[in-house]
Symmetry: C2
DNA sequence: TCGGTTTCTGAAACCGATTTCATTATGCCA
DNA sequence: TGGCATAATGAAATCGGTTTCAGAAACCGA
């Protein structure tokens, strides 16, 4: 039993395909109500559903977008994805999910597949695996792109691209202010890999905030982590060896902070009494662990929503946009007055 | 600059569309090598890529599958998704990602969208939001389905559906055996919502294992949780009020176990000295927390791989399959000899 | 040289929708 | 009652591919 087509509906309703197509598209301005009813009837009795594929062929729109992320295992993305998805569902768009696995080659393969499948646009959130080919090829195919947390200056001229930048400054400044107000002066930072632009941005915000609060940024210990729990655990060891020992740590993300927290527990260093820990992201887990994590909150759900909304606006208007998403501090139980 | 078409290639190569189509499809059996070369040349110089949309219209294949899950925030899914995606990428399939959010209405909307977009098959992993309409509609559209962890007996006759069942029995039996060997006799279970079939299955496996080890299953405390951290935290309170107090708990999943763990920490009950905790799933976090979680491991990455492979096999052969995925115990630090 | 295979290629139909353009009804006014 | 907008519908082209079918070219044995 093959799929019902518009021709079947037309036959049953006793009208032409054009007429059926019109009621499908809502172009019912010049149409007898009775005719429309007959068509609707036929559609119902047949259980007809129009073929998106056929429609896409002529309309050149697929009601589909691509979502490229680096790592589904990273909790940072979960809320983002939810945000993207909620907006997509509300506008009847579908999402091609692409996990690049931090692999540029795979990233590229995915991108080509998206082009071939004629997605209407792409959300590029795999900030690590960026190469300029992406922008060139997107421009070449006139494919609208939304870039999250990329610093792009060399975009091809006629490219359709919108950017969302993450502003870590306010949240990190608040965090340092909070620690300083608790009497901390020896504050360390566990950063992400220096190869990542986003890690460098966070670190710089940390150094600036230290400077601003009259602390010697040049002397502030910075340990390079990997944005994961394991890196946090290792970093704790390094921190304990610094003399004089820091009384507070700002981690580049929550996973790192959790690594610090759990390793501290392992070594019988009590948090927050002996060591205050501040995370960054505010992943779901942050509020669920004990002690709950004080952290710089990045509104990830909103980020996802904004990204998808931006894409939809681009699709409608053909214009490009830039947005900024701010951070702020959420105080919980992992920070306390300095023991010093 | 509109997209290049097969006609452009044909013109440049000085051949007909049919010929170009043949080299595209590899049907080059009766073709002069020189002709094929000319076509390849033209494809290259034009940077031509065939339109998947147009191709799908005639082939009725979209090289696309739908993936329905209930909650992207649930770490259970991450590895599963990775498994699915790895197989999909390897076979040049794309994935429509659908988060049902535990909402049957949304689940249905997603399903319809997938049908409209003519996916080649669907992986249904949103076990909670099951209703029989799914099977009926899938059968009606001859849409191949893979069901994970569903008990389905009333499938429509000609439906193309494969099933993967999760076998919790061996892992849970091992867990109870492990606890018993540590001297525990008062063992509680924090289950998932009894409305979920999968929660009932786990609970039953727990009761059977108790029975098998000579413990009184009828007396074993079972507390209903919600498969999340919050539920675990609450359940701990309930457990502490039971007299005589249980010395060990088997949680229905790792999130619940983590909730137990963190709430225990909150109330100064030391794990595992005073209370042994066993999780289920072996999410990534389980091995990263302190103390690391003893847990019944469900091979989630493999599960994802198997599911996608099964779908591909169905697509090829038109046959249906059933698979079973087993569990086993992973012993870490959250279990210790009974204090009693 | 001829008829019959075997290679090789192109014209045209088709997939299932949309859209343009033309045509037929209908209503209204002189 | 004729003429002319305006309303309502259908025929056919189109989107970008694949596939069928038929015809041309080359080859081969008699």
């Amino acid at each position: 039993m093959p799929r019902k087509t518009i021709a079947d509906v037309a036959r049953v309703a006793g009208v032409s395909k054009s007429t059926v197509s019109r009621v499908l598209g809502g172009k019912t301005r010049y149409m007898r109500a009775e005719t429309r009813e007959r068509v609707l009837q036929a559609i119902n009795t047949l259980g007809y559903r129009p073929s998106v594929v056929a429609r896409s062929l002529v309309s050149k729109r697929t009601q589909t977008v691509g979502l490229l992320i680096s790592d589904i295992g990273n909790p940072f993305y979960h809320e983002v994805i939810r945000g993207v998805e909620d907006v997509a569902v509300a506008h009847d768009y579908s999402i091609f999910f692409c996990n690049t696995n931090y692999d540029p080659a795979r990233s590229r393969q995915h991108f080509h597949s998206l082009v071939d499948k004629q997605v209407d646009g792409v959300l590029f959130m795999a900030s690590g695996d960026y190469s300029s080919w992406t922008l060139d090829e997107a421009a070449q195919h006139a494919l609208p792109l939304v870039l999250v947390d990329w610093n792009v200056e060399d975009a091809p001229p006629q490219s359709l691209l919108s950017k969302i930048t993450l502003n870590f400054v306010p949240g990190i400044h608040e965090a340092i202010a909070h620690l300083v107000s608790l009497g901390h002066t020896r504050i360390a930072h566990v950063s992400g890999p220096h190869t990542l632009a986003t890690a460098r941005k966070r670190k710089q915000a940390f150094l600036d905030a230290m400077e601003k609060h009259g602390l010697d940024a040049a002397q502030a210990p910075v340990i390079e982590g990997d944005l994961r729990v394991a890196g946090g655990r290792q970093a704790l060891g390094a921190i304990l060896e610094i003399a004089p020992r820091p009384t507070a740590v700002l981690a580049a993300n929550d996973l790192t902070a959790l690594g610090l927290l759990w390793e501290a527990r392992n070594r019988d260093i009590s948090v927050p009494e002996q060591l205050s820990i501040v995370g960054l992201d505010d992943i779901t887990l942050a509020s669920q662990v004990t002690p709950a994590l004080t952290t710089v909150s990045l509104p990830r759900y909103d980020l996802g929503k904004i990204a998808m909304q931006l894409l939809l606006e681009m699709l409608q208007s053909g214009e490009c946009f830039t947005r900024r998403v701010d951070t702020r501090l959420v105080i919980r139980q992992s920070t306390a007055p300095s023991p010093a």
